[in-house]
Every structure is written in structure tokens, then in C-alpha cells.
């Protein structure tokens, strides 16, 4: 149940009365100085000026930059000025290579049993799968982090192929096992 509650926490809610629209394109990280990968923009083709993006809670600062290279559908609105405010998003395709695929978004949660602690991938809709032992060990500090995975489900297990952290764990979303 706590895993489902955590997953639901990931859903952003635009402010009441805000008119939102959805834009699709590729996230790119724009640099403006030596190493200045200063922020994320939405790239919609060479003929359209890139759109500067900012996030609003519950999206984390830097979350969109972590998606550099991904094709996304952004839900947000444009306040006066050049910056677009993003409330939520869907990842359409990730992977820098030949086969770009849609990942599954969720969080990492820990399941403590008498045999030890296993890390779970909890999808947005609440479906949870145990990660392999090697993944559990290496990602043990990442409990609560928002992540995307490409992989396959095998009953109550999830076999990952590719993965990335989208946002660190939210402090208000941490749950201890009973």
C-alpha cells in the first residue's frame, strides 16, 4: 500500500484554473558558458526556436535535464516571457541509439523481509517488481528516487535493461517498512 501511495505522489497537479497544454519534442540540455549546461530546453526541430523549461513542484529541479536526449510530452503552461512551466510529463522514447523505446516511470522502494532487503521498482500505477540482487545492492542508497526503466516483467520480478534516476528521493515520500 505504501508503494502505491508513493507512486501516486509522483503525479503532478497543475494549479487550479491554470490552462495547460501539451507539447512534444526532445529534451536538450543547453550550455551557455564553460560547462554551462544551465538548463533544459524543448527541441522541436531546427525551424522552431527551442523552448526554455522550468519545473514546478512536485517535479524536482534538474529533473528535465536528466532526460536530455529523450522525446517527451510536456504538460504545462507558458507564463509571460520565454520560459515554459512544466507540471508533468510523459516520456515517449529514451535511448541514444538505434532503437528508442518508451520507458516505464516509477520509484525505487525497499522491501525488508526476514531474508534481507530487496529493492523494488514500483511503477506509477502501483505495480511492483523485485529487482535482481546485483541491482538491489548497487542502488540501495536510492530508495525513494524517481526513475525510469526499460526492461521486462516476470511475475513479481522486474528484469532491467536500462535505467536512469530522474529525481532524488523526496524527503516527504520516505516510508519505513513496518
Amino acid at each position: 500500500m505504501s508503494a502505491l501511495a508513493l507512486a501516486l505522489c509522483l503525479v503532478a497537479v497543475p494549479p487550479p484554473g491554470a490552462a495547460t497544454t501539451t507539447l512534444t519534442g526532445e529534451i536538450r540540455e543547453v550550455r551557455a558558458g564553460p560547462g554551462g549546461q544551465s538548463h533544459a530546453v524543448l527541441w522541436r526541430g531546427a525551424d522552431i526556436p527551442p523552448l526554455s523549461l522550468r519545473t514546478e513542484a512536485p517535479l524536482a529541479p534538474g529533473e528535465l535535464s536528466r532526460l536530455a536526449g529523450a522525446e517527451v510530452a510536456l504538460i504545462g503552461r507558458s507564463p509571460p516571457g520565454d520560459t515554459w512551466t512544466v507540471y508533468d510529463y510523459r516520456i515517449l522514447r529514451v535511448g541514444h541509439g538505434r532503437r528508442r523505446r518508451a520507458p516505464e516511470v516509477g520509484i525505487l522502494a525497499a522491501l525488508t523481509e526476514s531474508t534481507g532487503t530487496t529493492l523494488l521498482f514500483v511503477r506509477k500505477d502501483g505495480r511492483a517488481g523485485r529487482l535482481p540482487a546485483g541491482w538491489s545492492r548497487k542502488l540501495s542508497a536510492m530508495q525513494g528516487a524517481k526513475v525510469w526503466f526499460i526492461g521486462r516483467w516476470d511475475k513479481d520480478r522486474f528484469r532491467p535493461e536500462r535505467f536512469a534516476i530522474l529525481a532524488p528521493a523526496r524527503k516527504d515520500a520516505r516510508h519505513e517498512s513496518p
Binding site: 536538450r28 540540455e29 543547453v30 550550455r31 551557455a32 558558458g33 564553460p34 560547462g35 554551462g36 549546461q37 544551465s38 538548463h39 530546453v41 526554455s52 524536482a60 529541479p61 534538474g62 535535464s65 536528466r66 536530455a68 536526449g69 529514451v94 535511448g95 541514444h96 541509439g97 538505434r98 532503437r99 535482481p132 540482487a133 546485483g134 541491482w135 545492492r137 548497487k138 542502488l139 542508497a141 536510492m142 530508495q143 525513494g144 528516487a145 526492461g151 528484469r159 532491467p160 535493461e161 536500462r162 535505467f163 536512469a164 534516476i165 532524488p168 528521493a169
Partner: protein
Amino acid sequence: MTRPSHSTGTFPIGTCFLIASSLSAALGCGGETTEPPDGAECGALAEVEVRCDGSTCRTETGTRTFAEADLDPGRYVIVSWATSEFIDTETPGNESVDVQYGRQSPGALRRAAAARRRRAPSRAVLDHLSVGPRLRAEQVVRSWQSTAPFVLPDRWGRAPLGSRFPVPGPAWQQAACSRAAPECDGLAVCALESDAPDAVGVCESSLRLKFRTGATSFDEVTAEVKWRGRHAAIVVETGDEVSAQVLETLGTRFDEHIAPLSHALFGPPTDASGADRDGNGLVLFFFSHRVPELVDGLVGFFQPDDMRDPETIAPSNGRDLLYLAPPSADISVDSIAGTIAHEYEHLQNFASKVVRNGSSPESVWLDEGLATLAEDLTGHGSDAQENLAAYLACHSNTSLTGASVCTGDEVSADTAQRRGMVFLFLRYLFEQAGGADFGTAPGIVEDRGGVARIRGLVDSGDTGIDLFSDGEDAFHRRLGEFLGAVAASNADYPDVSCHPSLSFAAPETDAVTGQTRGVVLRGSVALSGGRSLSLSGPTPVVDFRDESAPLPVNGGEVRHLSSSQASTVRIGGPGEDFRISFRIFRTGSTP
């Protein structure tokens, strides 16, 4: 610090080194011995033949076996790594890929022996790192930067319009200076009226400067010239106090030590004609109490927008300028000097990539790594050592180019772990190219190949991974060579750690600063302020076993294997987009 003469340090993946326990000296690739740094004989490299690589191994239901090797009974250290050719500057590769380790043998691992070799984690508690404020501040500085393409300002090479006080007086003198003779009497800097070769100007003893408070906002402040040397002038915000002794110490150290070394390593902070941004031939160090107020504990920063035209970007100072915090109980003179070395590299790098080459700014990961290398090579390596400790303590989850997966609270990909890894990677390239001899007098460096190697990275119009992709699999191969050294250097593995391509040269003490230059991955190094840091190599190192585990793209990890029976090991992963390899070194017989 010069490397002993040795082979190029490259190795053909999967093509050499069949080492059986009884034949190790005879069948090593090349079969020759090498002279290690301490003069003791080093046998042929005890590297195991990798039977196939990505192009020849099997593919099964989407999972590809990238490499296989047969092992005799014994103890081994195994380095695995993954790269992607599809990563570039806009898509930095913040992901990890599933790597499948496989091992087939009739027996089980001798886990007890492996456990004995486990080392305590390297000492790196991020909350205690002095580099934290710099990381946070540079994120702030970047977030304020203009994203517009850089246009070389018309007024490059002369003082910015509108910055002068309206009337002559204490602030500026009627005394003339010129581009040909920019020297001013006393504590003043030359402000040229034009960018012409025969431009004349006036000598300013007070400056009006901007201190940025946001993306478009800034405060105007006044600052007095308090010290002037050959390469730098120090200005202090009116009302702030910096003692004459500190000014002399910092100014002299920069003029005589940091600047000559930095110019040799990273090039001049000028345009193609040799003119600096404001034409006075001096970089300005602007001390202000506002710096540590920006981010608690911040010592200094470079704002590249200051190189832009103030008429286009209002907060720009139109000067080559570093912002610095005045010394305090928490900010030592050594810390300020090290920060100057770090931030000056950012200024030099911007001048090369953007101003002289008309290229993109350098990728964050590489620019920060070069700036960290600047700290080390100029003898201010305390922060570099702490970054290195952070990397070693999280080596298996750190990517050279993308985000690390270490503490769980990283917001930016620019972390201490990544800076430490990139610094060590560049230090490896520097040493493998021959390194350099740093004299006992200030500012002296005699290149043995390492300076030219680093200078080439900065002088090139290429940026990021492109700088290391000069040939098929070049970046992948270089990463594997580097990770071999991470695994073996200072580890006392017979016929492995002594090999020059797998070891870092012994550190030395900088004659001017008394700080450590160079790295030791297992041992203790002295830091500034009488502190020391103890490193235990890459940690945690786990056993090589049948399992699936994440590996950061453009990163790698070290594992141990101890077996009393012959076995076959393999490494696999997704059969697309990635190149995955391992190297295996025999480290001894089974106990």
C-alpha cells in the same frame, strides 16, 4: 614528475595476453619486462586473454555476450566498463545499463579469501568536503548564464563603456596609458578607449563593477585596485578588508607560479590577437564579501557572461574577472589560491573554445575535470584529492560524462564523484603521455609530453567526447586503459601494479605551496592546513559472480575473483547501443 620510459600504454582488447599460472613470464603480450618507477623489475603484464569482443561473441534473445575468458585457478581482479557512441554534448548519457556477469566452473568461489581482500571504504564523507560550496555555486552561476549564442563583442580588448567614474580624481588619473604600454603608475589598471592597435586610455585606481544577483539583476559596487602585478590585478570592494600581506602572497603566487604553469597547460586567456577581454593584459581578482553570501562557504567563481558585451547582457562586466571571497577564519589563503587556479582554467578554456575557436563551450564534465587538474598541477590539489576520494568511494556508480548514482540526493550531474573521476582520467592521460618535470623554483615546468597532451585538449575546437574519439573505439579503449590503472595502481599485484600503463607515478610535493601534486590511490596524502587523506583504492569491490548489475554508461567497476578450479567468465548486456568490455589481471595463486 616524469613517467619512466615505457610502451604507449595501449592494449588491443581481446587480442593478447594469455597468461597461465606456470607460463606467466613467457606468454605476456610482447614478452618483455618493464622498468617500474622504483627501478625494480616488473615481469610481463599478467593480463588474461579475452577470447572475443563485441563483434565476435554470441547474441541470445536480445542479450549479447561481449567478451569471454578462460581462467586457471587463481586470484584475479576484473575491470568492466560500458560506453555508448551515441552520447554527445546535448545528450550526456545519464543512464546505467544492465551488465550480466557469468561464470561457469565446477566449483564455488572461495569467498573467504575474497572477503579478506575487501578494503575499508575510502574516506569521503560528502558533508565534510570543502568542494561542496563550489559545486553548488557553480550550479547557481550556470543557471544565471545567458543561453544566447556567444558573439565576440565589438569592444573586445578595451574597457567597457559606462564603467568609468564621471570625472578625473582619485578614481582615475589623467595619466595616459596605451595598448603598447599599458602599465600605470601605482595601484591602477589601464582602461583603453578603443580596440585599435594604437589605442590610448587612462589609468583607473577605482573601478565600478557589477555583482550579479540573478539571471538579469545585479548590484553596482565600487572597488579599489589594491595590488597589481604582471598577470593580475587585485581589486577589493570598497569597505572590505584584505591585508596587504595576503594581497602580496596571492598576487605573487599567481604571477610567479600559477599563471606561468596555467598558461603552459591551458593556454592564454585571450583572443587570437593576444588581447584579453578588457585590453589591460591583467586578469582581475575581485574580492567581495558578497561571494560567500551567495553560497555559504563559497570561495570564488568565474562568470563567463563577463566575457560578453555589457550592452547586450546587462550584468556583464565586460572584463576578464574572477570573483573571490576575502580570507576569513573559514577561508584560508591556500584555499583562495587553489580556487584561483581552478577558476582561471575556466576562463582560459572559455577563451580557447568560444573566443578563439568559435566553438561551443567545453562540456561540463570535462571543463570541471580540467579545472580540478589545474588545482593539482599548480600545487593546490587538496580539493582534487577530496574529489578523488569521493570517486573511489563510489567508483562503480560514477560515469565520466553523465550523472552518478551515489548518494541518492544528487540533483546535478556535476558531482564531487564525477569531478574526481574526470580529474583522475586526465591525470592518467597526462602521465601516460610522459608527464612533466616541475622545478623547485616557482612557475617552472619542463614538458615531457603531458603538458602538450593536456594543452591539445584545450586548444582544440572539439569538445567533450569528440576530443577522445580519434579512431575506432578510441574512447572505449582509453576508458578501459584508465580503469585498469584505477584497479591496479598501488595495489601491489605482482606483474600488474608495477606496469607503467597500470600505475600512477608517485606524488611529489610542490616546491611553492608544499601541497601534494599527483595521486596515490592506496595510501595517505597530505592536504593543506596540516590535514591528510587516506585512500583505499576503489570501493566497494565485490566478487565476480553470476549476476545482473547496473553499470553507468561511460563508467566501470572493479571486481575480484578467486577460484580453486578452472572457470570461464563472460560479460554481456543489451545487444544495442553499447560497447561493454572487461579486462582481467591475474593477481596471484589461490591461497
